[in-house]
């Protein structure tokens, strides 16, 4: 056998392997020890800069493809070098017009970052850029870099829906959602900009270049292209939004328009508004303070974040419950003497209606009729039906991030756990006062459900956001809805209706007025001081025969819904109808 040969062969192999390893080790020794310093210097003099290539954010369009935002370039001065000691800080601070001590602190930070730049000054004007460019060679390491900012084309219009972008907050920096971006990137901070952040944000590219001592580009070493974010198309009609905002004539309030055919939100108004353009590159302290101290709270999205007692706009819900549960029929009637005596308390009605049937009780908004219905229904069933109509929980329309949509509140014996539940509280609840509260967007959704005779559509802010979805239908008889809708038609179009101010010559509107009490008692509102005056509600849908949109309006301290809020809804509905027919 050739085992001996093989063993000898192995010895030679071992020798060769060890020899080769020795040669490799010697070569490593040569490179790292003998020439190590030379190569270290060569590595350090690899003057490399990594320049971020900002990615454009996706554009936000309105439902008619009108761009609501624009990406605009802006420039900032940055610094990158390992030789900050030799920089003329006095000259640089004069050139950039920044405090010298702050500049020195920033330069110090730049020393620890070998390849990334440190931002020295942002928001340079073209004049600044030209001035600084001319003197770049005096300050090796100084650079002008581009970034992209947002311009909100319609300024304050729709600011509560569109939102704004801004610098990363401390919390965002720690979040993994904001991993793959540069510290200079502006990200969505509020409303749609924040809610659709992942879709809108592109991915930053980078350009790695070799530079000479003066910072001029010598070689391109590598480049990854930035990827633009995805566009989104909101369900909002910016024209309608603008009309609606103007219809408030400087008063505070909220308004929501929902397309009853698909649940898309066509307008979402909260006034007063603010200008999102102020926020993008960091808002000035005075402006910020002014906005925060403003008693009118422009930074609150009233449509989602403010809850109000619904007042009489709650009556259709109580009516649905009472009709469906057989408590009343369309033929039921009661006699209203201006109040209902209940124990030692007296529950008032806004006027003495004499004999009213169901239809008139809604048309003329008789409280006594609903006290009696509510008394028989009981608070549990009122709550149950209110929930079916989407009250007491968020609509989930989105716009989280800085806007916490409120649940509103629905009382029940369960809800008022510890204290005893008084029947009187049930009576208050049956006319939408007391512990009941809703947000304007809930009111709009409720109206859409009535208009759609029980079909519940989730609300969406994206055009086509509900396409392909199947909608649930409430288990409520069509006759019930017919009775309610016929009464709501009467509210606007019949003699004695509380919202005759909303009667339109273009199409039939159906609606319901409401008054949200700010303080108890029934003083005539015009005599009350502005801030104690009641809030005016109006919910409506149109056209009555074949509804297309549902609207909910609240005018803070507006007084009666019929005289104050109904005209706003009418204006918006007419604007919608004109816009629709105009196209």
């Amino acid at each position: 056998m050739s085992k001996e040969y093989f063993d000898r062969y192995l010895s030679v192999t071992v020798f060769v392997v060890m020899l080769m390893m020795l040669i490799l080790a010697m070569r490593i020794y040569q490179l790292q020890i003998l020439h190590g310093r030379h190569y270290r210097e060569a590595a350090n003099s690899n003057k490399i800069r990594v320049i971020a290539l900002p990615a454009a954010r996706g554009i936000i369009y309105d439902r008619n493809n009108v761009p609501l935002v624009k990406n605009e370039p802006y420039y900032y001065a940055s610094f990158m070098s390992e030789t900050t000691n030799t920089i003329d800080t006095a000259g640089l601070s004069a050139l950039l017009d920044i405090d010298r001590m702050r500049l020195i602190a920033k330069l110090k930070k730049a020393q620890s970052e070998r390849f990334k730049s440190i931002v020295l000054k942002e928001g340079l004007s073209f004049k600044d850029v030209a001035r600084i460019e001319a003197r770049l060679s005096d300050f090796p390491g100084l650079m002008i870099e581009p970034n992209l900012t947002r311009h909100y084309v319609f300024d304050s219009v729709g600011s509560h829906v569109i939102g704004y972008i801004g610098r990363l907050t401390a919390r965002q920096m720690l979040s993994s959602d904001y991993d793959n971006i540069t510290p200079e990137t502006l990200v969505g901070q509020w409303a749609a900009e924040a809610f659709f952040e992942k879709k809108l944000r592109g991915s930053t590219g980078e350009r790695i270049i070799e530079i000479d001592a003066l910072g001029r580009e010598l070689n391109l070493i590598g480049q990854t292209e930035p990827q633009m974010g995805n566009d989104i198309t909101l369900s909002i009609d910016i024209g309608l939004q603008e009309t609606a905002e103007k219809a408030f004539h400087g008063k505070n309030g909220a308004l929501v328009v929902v397309d009853t055919r698909n649940g898309e939100v066509l307008a979402l108004v909260s006034v007063p508004t603010f200008d999102p353009n102020d926020f993008v590159l960091g808002i000035e302290t005075e402006k910020w303070n002014a906005l925060n101290k403003d008693k009118n709270n422009p930074l609150i999205n009233r449509a989602l974040q403010s809850t109000y007692p619904p007042g009489s706009i709650f009556k259709p819900v109580v009516a649905a419950a009472a009709l469906q549960e057989g408590i009343i029929t369309e033929g039921s009637s009661t006699v209203c003497r201006g109040s209902l005596e209940f124990g030692e308390y007296s529950f008032g009605c806004w006027k003495s209606h004499a004999a009213v049937d169901f239809h008139r009780a809604i048309v003329e908004s008789c409280d006594v009729f609903f006290y009696e219905a509510g008394k028989k229904l009981g608070i549990e069933r009122i709550e149950k039906y209110a929930r079916l109509f989407g009250l007491g929980k968020t609509t989930g329309v989105g716009l989280r991030h800085g806007i916490d949509e409120k649940d509103g509140s629905l009382p029940s014996t369960r809800w008022k756990q510890k204290k005893k539940w008084f029947l009187g509280e049930t009576l208050s609840a049956s006319i939408g006062q007391g512990y009941v509260s809703v947000t304007p967007i809930q009111a709009a959704q409720m109206t859409a459900i009535i208009a759609n005779e029980g079909i519940v559509m989730p609300l969406t802010l994206i055009k086509g956001g509900n396409s392909g979805k199947k909608f649930d239908r409430l288990d409520i008889r069509p006759e019930t809805f017919n009775a309610i809708k016929s009464a709501m038609y009467g509210v606007v179009n019949e003699a004695g209706g509380t919202a005759s101010a909303a009667k339109s010559g273009i199409a039939h509107i159906s609606g319901k007025t409401g008054t949200a009490q700010v303080i108890a008692g029934r003083t005539k509102t015009e005599e009350q001081k502005e801030r104690y005056r009641d809030h005016a509600w109006f919910i409506a849908y149109a056209p009555s025969e074949k509804p297309e949109i549902a609207v909910a309006v609240i005018l803070e301290h507006g007084g009666h819904g019929g005289s104050a809020a109904a005209p706003i809804a009418k204006e918006v509905i007419e604007a919608y109808l004109k816009g629709r027919d105009g196209k």
């Binding site: 050739s2 040969y5 093989f6 063993d7 062969y9 192995l10 192999t13 071992v14 392997v17 060890m18 080769m20 390893m21 490799l24 080790a25 070569r27 490593i28 020794y29 490179l31 790292q32 020890i33 020439h35 190590g36 310093r37 030379h38 190569y39 270290r40 060569a42 590595a43 350090n44 690899n46 490399i48 990594v50 971020a52 070998r114 390849f115 990334k116 991993d179 793959n180 971006i181 540069t182 930053t204 980078e206 790695i208 070689n219 070493i221 590598g222």
Partner: protein, 375 residues
């Protein structure tokens, strides 16, 4: 024979030493891949290192599976395995996926792998079987048969992909193994003359058939400064990267050459540079020592194997791994032209890592069963 042959004795004989070396090198590799692929501007860490860690676990499973059955089954099915390997190579040429200018991948549902990687092992199994079946030394006809079957046929197929590095490694391993068998003096003489005469003559012919990128690599090797932005730049940067590590290195995650992409294939073929930059001469020498121990262990396995098949198999596998190592090191140290050859166990790459784990599994298997056991 196919029954599960694990008993306590085998477990006792399990080559923990080899496994420890293997794991140490792989884990160092994963760490270095992490460092090499660090992002500069953005903060998202590419998941190469995680993938490599997963492949390491898969490789470990494959290694254990390889160890369970006595390697004699490899001898029995050697030709079948080899034929399968050849068919895979043909399939790659016919239906393989192209990537990076070469056609090396086969797609099997969601996974794609490079058959030429697994083929390395199948080839060595085939040669080992052939050589161990021959009594005495290799005479003319067996030589010619083995040369064409195990030498030239796979070489041509792999060259077609093209995968010059692997092709050359396999051809060299073939010659190394037949010489281990001992060849007839005449053939040996012919081989020597052939080696001396053919390269200059064939060189010209081969040169004309080389792909452009292959030509560039050779030009760049000879004159690195001639092409500062291309391959020459790469070789120069490779040397700078290693050299700048100096004695103690810049420290883990402190290297600058990798993340800044001076090295285009920083996490694959040039991973050693990144390690050398961060760990300096001390670390570099330790790595070389780890590899040396691993190769010596492989050779000693060949020496101790209970049968001839095991001897060739162990030697062949060890030599193949050694060749990959030496060629890769020679390349990154600027001593050889850039041939796309990864460093075993450290370079990023799933198929290669798993295949190499299987190779080590076979070595452990041979060593474990080196003592004939009588029942």
């Amino acid at each position: 024979m196919w029954s599960l042959q694990i008993n306590r004795r085998y477990i006792k004989q399990f080559d923990w030493y080899m496994l420890s070396l293997l794991l140490a090198i792989t884990i160092i590799g994963v760490m270095t891949i992490y460092s090499a692929t660090r992002p500069v501007i953005t903060t998202v860490q590419p998941n190469y290192y995680l993938k490599q860690a997963v492949w390491m676990l898969i490789g470990l499973a494959a290694l254990i599976a390889t160890v369970i059955y006595d390697y004699s089954w490899l001898r029995k099915s050697a030709y079948f395995l080899y034929a399968t390997g050849i068919v895979m190579l043909l399939l790659v040429l016919l239906i393989g996926r192209r990537g990076l200018g070469a056609q090396r991948w086969l797609e099997l549902g969601p996974v794609s792998f490079q058959p030429s990687e697994l083929f390395r092992i199948l080839l060595i199994i085939g040669i080992s079987k052939y050589l161990s079946a021959i009594k005495g030394h290799l005479t003319k006809w067996p030589f010619i048969i083995s040369l064409s079957l195990f030498g030239l046929l796979p070489f041509v197929l792999i060259l077609k992909q093209p995968h010059l590095g692997t092709g050359l490694v396999l051809l060299t391993t073939f010659f190394f193994l037949i010489i281990a068998k001992k060849v007839e003096k005449k053939i040996m003489a012919a081989l020597i003359i052939f080696t001396l005469v053919v390269p200059p003559v064939a060189g010209n012919l081969i040169w004309r058939h080389l792909k452009d990128y292959q030509k560039n690599r050779i030009i760049a090797f000879i004159k690195p400064k001639a092409d500062p932005k291309g391959i020459g730049y790469q070789i120069e940067q490779s040397k700078i990267t290693i050299g700048s590590g100096q004695a103690l290195g810049r420290g883990f995650l402190k290297g600058t050459q990798g993340p800044l992409r001076f090295l285009p294939e920083k996490h694959t073929d040039f991973i050693y540079c990144i390690f050398a930059e961060e760990w300096g001469f001390v670390g570099s020498s330790i790595i070389v020592a780890l590899y040396l121990f691993l190769f010596l262990r492989g050779i000693s396995t060949a020496l101790k194997s209970k049968d001839e098949f095991g001897r060739y198999l162990a030697l062949g596998l060890t030599f193949m791994l050694f060749l990959y190592f030496v060629i890769n090191m020679g390349m990154v140290l600027g001593m050889l032209p850039v041939v796309g050859v990864p460093i075993p166990f450290m370079s990023y790459g799933g198929t290669t890592l798993i295949t190499n784990y299987i190779a080590i599994g076979i070595l452990i298997n041979i060593r474990m069963r080196r003592l004939a056991i009588c029942y």
